[in-house]
Symmetry: C2
């Protein structure tokens, strides 16, 4: 984390000197990544920044540097695509890392997401020092979800050591996971079909003529 | 929705005839999009499909067609990038469309997401026939969130009629939104800095040496 702060501060220094600079993250920079940190540091240092956008936006003061966040394909989309279509309905993304977030907050989120029948996407499920949270998460979710609910596990999506498996929720505590793993736990309608994990888009199929919301 | 089913069925027919076929969606096909529908129809028609993947996956039966889901940049990442970094922590994505999902389920999800301090991403906030749900969602979230909580509104992200605004949650019911709009409602730590909306990555900043989870 200290290295990340240094990276952002160095990039800001380059930009303040009048040159362009890019901070490169994997996946999408806005999801559990570097973009937020960059803005936090700009605010802390009171650096006047303006969006690099063609939209008309109000500019409060004379800007010092221009900032553009360029979206990418987040790990949750890459991982989901390897499983099939697990994310087709409402979902909640939760990081199990309690370095910067109290575990009580994380537990409350797992409980809320499970009780309201969200598809649940777990980031940072386990690290070498932090091993119990995944089993605790599983226990909480099992209070609300059938034990056979599919859980899709994607390690290192789209990289050379990629691994994709689908197991029932009751076996999640046994799964081989690490910090490069994302876990997709289905909602009450999710199912597996052959090698795929799928969540339907709705609870009832209503096809009365040409239904389209405009 | 009928047209979407026809599209998928036609694509399957092309593939069954031995030719390759691509179903093209905007954004990412796995988030509130077409991929789930494609798998549902394959299952309904009992078509034997196998993943187009280099991973070792168990193949249950002789496959008829090979299916690959290619991830894209979802609207939530495109929209977030235009606002700054609203999505840097745990978030819940909820569609306000009750065509296929009972409103009671949607309300329960809004309540759960708000009470557990998720960043909330609202899809399909309003259509010509369906106008009350956004105000109801706002009222629910206001029970748990300060009325000045930033709400980022992105219309037609990255398209020619793109519009990006940030308003306080208390004014959300007045916002000009449609089916091409995504709304990002901050958690309790989200803030605005100049023209940007930002959610910090954690609740406490702890920088004791070189903290890294491995």
């Amino acid at each position: 984390m200290t290295k990340e702060i240094n990276r952002v501060e160095q990039a800001i220094d380059v930009a303040l000197s009048g040159r362009s600079c890019a901070i490169v993250s994997s996946g999408d920079p806005g999801i559990y990544a570097m973009a937020g940190l960059a803005f936090e540091i700009c605010k802390k240092k009171n650096i006047k920044i303006t969006p690099f956008s063609s939209c008309e936006r109000s500019v409060n003061e004379k800007s010092t540097i221009t900032v553009e966040v360029i979206p990418g394909i987040p790990a949750l989309c890459a991982g989901a695509s390897l499983l099939g279509a697990p994310l087709s309905h409402d979902f909640a993304a939760i990081s199990l890392s309690d370095l910067l977030t109290p575990w009580a907050v994380i537990e409350k989120r797992i409980e809320a997401a499970a009780s309201a029948d969200f598809i649940i996407v777990l980031y940072n499920p386990k690290s070498k020092k932090r091993t119990r949270q995944l089993e605790t998460a599983q226990k909480i979710i099992l209070k609300y979800r059938d034990k056979k609910t599919p859980a899709g596990i994607v390690v290192s999506a789209m990289r050379k050591d990629e691994m994709v498996t689908i197991i029932p929720l009751e076996d999640l505590h046994k799964a081989d996971v690490n910090m490069q793993t994302i876990i997709f736990i289905g909602n009450s309608t999710s199912f597996t079909y052959l090698d795929f994990m799928v969540t339907p888009r709705g609870y009832d199929r209503k096809y009365s003529g040409d239904i389209q919301e405009i």
